[in-house]
Amino acid sequence: MSGELLLDVRDLAVQFPTADGIVNAVSGLSFTLSRGETLGIVGESGSGKSVTNLAILGLLNSKRSLITGEILLHGKDLLKATPVELRDVRGKDVAMIFQDPFACLHPMYRVGDQIAEAVRAHLDVSKAKARDRAVEVLDAVGIPNARARSRDYPHQFSGGMRQRAMIAMALVHNPSVLIADEPTTALDVTVQAQILELIDKVKRDFDIGVILITHDLGVVAETAQTVMVMYAGRAVEHGPAAGVFDNPQHPYTWGLLESMPSVQGKVTHLRAIEGLPPSVIHLPPGCPFHPRCPHRFDPCDKIRPPLAAMEGGHSDACHLDPDAKRRLWAEREAVRLGLGA
C-alpha cells in the first residue's frame, strides 16, 4: 500500500575509530522512507551517503565501527537485530544495487545462477525453481530472451544489462526497500536514463520505497519525491524535491545546483564549489561548510546551525535568515542564467 512508512531512521551516527582519530562518517541523521517514495540522497564523495546505507543493511564491520541511533524497518530497530536477523533482512526485505555493475557480479558464475543463489538464500526451493524465478525477474527488468541469457556469464553482458541483472537480483524476494548506490555512475549516459527509468518502473510495479544515492542532482530531479543533501556526514537540507529544487535554502545546495549543466542551454556560468570537503576526523567548528561558504558571517565558525524546519516539510541547516537566503539565491540565479552580470 502506497504511503506506508517503511523505514524510519532516527539520529543515526556512524563513527570509525582509526589510528588518526575518530572518523565521524555520519552524525545526527534522521529521515523516513515510505512505500512508493524515492528518496534522493545527494552529496560529494565522503559525505556519508554510502555509509548510511551500508549501516541500514548491517554491512559495516561491527568491530571497526560505532553505530548509534535507531534504524526502524517496519518499526523494528535493525541496530538491535542479531547478525542472523540482519542476514534475513538483507536481500529479502532490503535489497541493494551498487555503483559498478562490472565489479559487482561474480565473474565466474552464470548470471542466472547468481540470481538463483539470492533466491535460495532466503527460500528453501529447488535449484530448478530458483532458476525459473531468476528467469522471471530477468524478464521483468527487460532482458530479452531471458532464459537463454540467464546462462551467460557476466562478461557476456553489457554494462546496462549487468545493472539490470543486479536490479533483477534485488527484486527476487519482492523487497520493500531498494537502495541504489550510485546506480548509473559507471554507465553510458544513454544507458543511465534507461536504468533510472527501470528503477522508477520497478518502484511503481512492485510498490516499494527507493533510496537513490547519487552525487548527480540531475538524477535526483528526474526521479525523487524527497531530497536530502548531505555534507560532511550531516543533512544540510532535506525536503520535497519540488521545494529543494525551486526554493533551495542552503548555500551548499546552491553550489551543487550551480555546478550542474542544463540541457536547456540557459546556464552561462558553471561554477565549482571552491575548496575541498572537510576532513571527517577534524571537522571545522560551527557549520562544517563555513570555510567554503561565500556567505559566512559572525556565528558560522562558532555555532553549528541546527536542521531547522520550514513550512512544507522542508528543512535546512544554515544561520542565514530566510529573507537573506531568498535575496542571495536570486542574485546567484541571475548570474547563473547570465541575466545580472
Partner: protein, 321 residues
Amino acid sequence: MVIYLARRLTWAVAVLLAVTALTFAIFYLLPPGDPALRFVGKQPTPENLALVRHNLGLDHPWYVQYGKFVKSIVVGDKYGWPGLGYSYDSSVPIRDKIVEKAPRTFSLIVGASIIWLSMGVLIGVISAIKRRTIFDRIAMGFALFGISAPVFWLGLMALFIFWYKLDLTAGTGYTSFTTSPQEWASHLILPWIVLALLYAAIYARMVRGNLLDTMGEDFIRTARAKGLSERNVIFRHGLRASLAPIVTMFGLDIALLVGGAVITESVFNLDGLGFMAIDSVFRQDLPGVLGVVLVGTFAVVIMNLLVDIAYAFLDPRVRYA
C-alpha cells in the same frame, strides 16, 4: 579446443627438441673432459680409447649424435620405445633406469603435493578469515619458518628425531608400493612432510593474500547484500575467485619437482630422477642427463597444458581457440 590442443602439442614437441638440443650443446661446448677417457680404464692405449669412443658414438660430430638421439626417441632402439640409449657409465639402458627411478620421484611428489596443497589452502584461508588474530600470527610465523628453513637441515633434523631417536618411521631409502604399502609410506612420510613444508608455507601466504584481496572486491559485497551466510560468502565467492593463480603455481611446482627434488631425494636417499640427473652430470654420463632432462621437460610441458585447460574450466572468461 581441438585446434588449440593440436597447436599446443606441436609447440610441446618444439620445446622438447629445443631443450634437448641445448643440453646436448652444453655438453659439447663446455667440455669438462672426455667421457671416453673415463670409461676406458686406468692406462688406456690410443687403440682402446678410439674403440670406446666408437662404441659410445663419440667419434661422430655432435649434430650427428644429436640426430641419432632424436631418431632413437622417435622410432625406439634395441631396448624398446622410446629409445634413450644406454649409460656410458654402467651400460644400463637409460629407459630402464628412468622406469626404475620415476616411481620413486612420483611417489615423493604426489604425497608431498597433497600435503602442501591441503595445508597451504587450509592455513591460508583460516589466516585470512582470522586476520590479525593470534592464529594468523602463528600461522604466518610458521610460514616464515617453512620458507627460511633449508630442506637439507630440516630433512636431517627430521631423520634424527623421528627415525634415530623416536624410531617412529622407517629411515632413508625406498620400498616400492607394490612390495609393501606400509613400508612405502613409512619411508616416504618424512620426505613428504619436509618437502611439503616449504611449499605449504609459500601457498599459505599466497592463499591468504589472494583471499584478502578478493574479499575486498565488490562482488563479495553483493554476496553479503544478498543475505548469504558468511561461510558461503567466503567459500563460494571468495575462495573460488582466489584459487585460479594457485592452480597455475601448483601445476608448475609439481612439474619442476620431477627433475628437481634433488636435495630431498639426496637427504632421504630416495635415488629418484633428480638424484639421477645430478649423479649423471658428475659422471659425465650424457645419456643419463638427457633422459632426465627429457622427462622433466615433458612434465613441464604437460602440466602447463593441464593448467591451461583447468583454467578454462575455473574461469569462464578464459576461452581458447
